[in-house]
Subunit: 403 residues, 2 copies
């Protein structure tokens, strides 16, 4: 069974039984494939006697997107599994536990989180996550700091950079986020209602300059080991718990790209509240909750990141040079503005959209949400290099919503 | 013979004979080991009949510096050989031709350049190299552009980054250039005469901030495949020919680090002309030659790099975004200022000095040269982020020399 092939449900059960000590003797296992079949098989295996369960995720050697299929490296399963293990060490409790990784089968066996819901869906249902800012700021501060030259041995870091070279999945980001939305591309997915706004993106010189700079940093700046796809669809949540999943896009890149992914998806939900809130009062309240979450996340992230640096910094000069930490944190904030903007724009006009916007049934509501998101996204991109504080981001969102 | 061991001269001859078609039948080969024995064995093999000759360079598994010995990876021979081959493809005629690489023996067989002299020595002897700016600007423009995300397939570039991860040799640079000179370190090598100036380096907050920023870029910015040690001791020259050698420090880093290495070593020679010139008039003339060479090198580099970008750019957005090329070239100039400064400072107070300064016999001349170099180096570091044109660098050097 060790040569790669897509597993059957029965084979998945056999592998699950082989994991020492997980299921009790005499377990009665059932298996259900619950993936969407586009990139991976996902098996949910349960013991009906003890109630214990686990998840097995197997990478498929192709990606299906909008009907097309293209080959995709199975090495992403190794990257995902190794990144999950590193995250589990650095931010225990905030990612699923990995029980086993089989490189031949491109298979990761991990903790079942079906008592959680995908955060994007939760936000669309109006659920608030009061601990999310605390959790995600810990996750980001610790995974980013301890994989950077500030927090880990700088020679080991270079070997880790090597191990997480991820050309195929980075290419997806480079095309879909940092190129297609700003040009005529058959990859784009543009609602006819906002054709004028999408067209404006292709003719905005000031915007192109900033995106080119942000694209260059994505291509060249090996600052920390990123999750690489940290949107609200990659987060399982309950009001008490946060679990970050699916790090197959992991690679060494600019920290602001991960932080920006979180903020962008909270802002996309904010824009979508044109529809999802019951009424104006509920909309206003939920939007304030989202903005408070963004502000709290940044403030907690910055506080924790600086504390880690002060207590665990390994770079003598970076710690000794007066003013350097302030300089570093400001550049990080500025990158965050830029990548937040890029991640918003691509979800409105690029290939892959988000349910927060696309599932809005009313055409006018949806168009208003799309235009609001684009206005916020392009503003954040244009202001990124002069940003000074997270309040400017909050005010930009609020200001755009009031227009 | 294929298991690694340091070769004898007789073994080197046997290997030389095995290179198909290089030496004619009946060649009468003699071999002489001409390395300094610190890092590598270097065999010079000559056929006394045909006059043909070649060089064999074998890495030793340790480095000897100031009497100490520490282990050093043999992988640097692979890196050197692969980098030489890439340079030979991108900048033909400006590096020695590689005839053979044997990974087991950590051995590179290459073109004999003994009709050239090490440029540092040539400059100390007052030799001018009228084609150097033309040659080195071509070398840098082509090797840097075509290994960057601007000029090569961006997914292949990532695999090349992986192949040139070079932790041990980067560590040497990180310590000796970007840390030791700015703190009390037993690695430093400080003339008692300039103890006050060396001490000032350890207490200069503005300087530390800039060096920390430049250090961070060295650690994280995988902009292009650098030579990594491009000083005038790594260049063989005649008035008609320039050959860059010894790329064992190659890795993906910021382009300005290579350009800065060239400029720093021309400036170190400039500072050393306190002694090397016969008289004030000769000094003034040679110094003008050096400054003209720096200015010409930058101008030609910029012209060639922009032309390559315009004709061979592979990044759609980087080419389309108005103003981005100007922005990019300015950042490159600014990095060049910073790295030029860092490379000067380390050669005055750090572990490894340069003959241009250290071989000055007169104490007063040597001290004056050292202080001049330190003043130029620290000034360039402090002005790096606001630099606008190469003329500012030239004026900084000239101004310091006039004080």
């Amino acid at each position: 069974m060790s040569t790669y092939h897509p597993l059957s449900e029965q084979e998945a059960i056999t592998i699950a039984q082989s994991i020492d000590g997980f299921f009790p003797d005499g377990a009665s296992l059932t298996c259900r494939e619950i993936g969407d079949g586009n990139l991976n098989l996902v098996f949910h295996i349960t013991d009906s006697l003890s109630g214990k369960s686990l998840i097995m995720k197997q990478a498929l050697p192709y990606a299906k997107v909008v009907g097309e299929s293209w080959p995709l490296t199975l090495d992403r399963a190794r990257i995902e599994s190794e990144k999950l293990i590193i995250e589990g060490q650095l931010a225990p409790g905030l990612v699923p536990v990995v029980y086993k990784y089989d490189p031949e089968l491109a298979l990761t066996v991990m903790e079942d989180l079906s008592d959680h819901v995908i955060m994007r869906q939760g936000l669309m249902n109006g659920i608030q996550y009061p601990l999310f800012a605390e959790h995600i700021s810990t996750f980001m501060a610790r995974t980013l700091f301890f994989t950077s030259d500030l927090g880990m041995n700088q020679q080991e870091k270079k070997l880790q950079v090597k191990s997480f070279i991820n050309p195929e999945l980075c290419k997806i980001t480079e095309d879909l986020i940092f190129d297609d939305p700003y040009t005529l591309s058959s990859n784009n997915n543009i609602s006819p209602a906002i054709a004028d706004a999408a067209d404006a993106l292709t003719r905005d010189d000031a915007l192109h300059l900033e995106v080119a700079i942000l694209r260059d940093k994505f291509l060249t700046n090996a600052q920390a080991l990123l999750h690489g796809d940290l949107h609200t669809g990659s987060i399982f949540a309950t009001p008490e718990s946060t679990k970050v999943i699916d790090p197959e896009f992991a690679f060494y890149g600019p920290m602001g790209f991960d932080i920006g992914a979180v903020f962008a998806n909270l802002i996309l939900n904010y824009a979508g509240q044109e529809h999802w809130s019951r009424d104006a009062e509920a909309r206003s309240e939920f939007r304030e909750y989202l903005l408070t979450t963004i502000a709290d996340t940044w403030k907690l992230f910055e506080e924790k990141f600086r504390a880690l640096w002060n207590e665990n910094g390994v770079d003598r000069l970076a710690s000794a040079a007066k003013g350097y930490q302030d300089y570093y944190m400001k550049r990080l904030l500025q990158d965050t503005f830029g990548y937040t903007g890029c991640k918003i724009v691509r979800r409105i006009v690029g290939l892959a959209h988000v349910a927060d916007i696309d599932r809005i049934p009313d055409d006018a509501d949806r168009e208003r949400s799309q235009r609001l998101a684009l206005e916020i996204g392009t503003s954040l991109i244009k202001m990124n290099r002069s940003a000074e504080s997270i309040d400017q981001l909050i005010n930009t969102v609020r200001g755009a919503a009031q227009n």
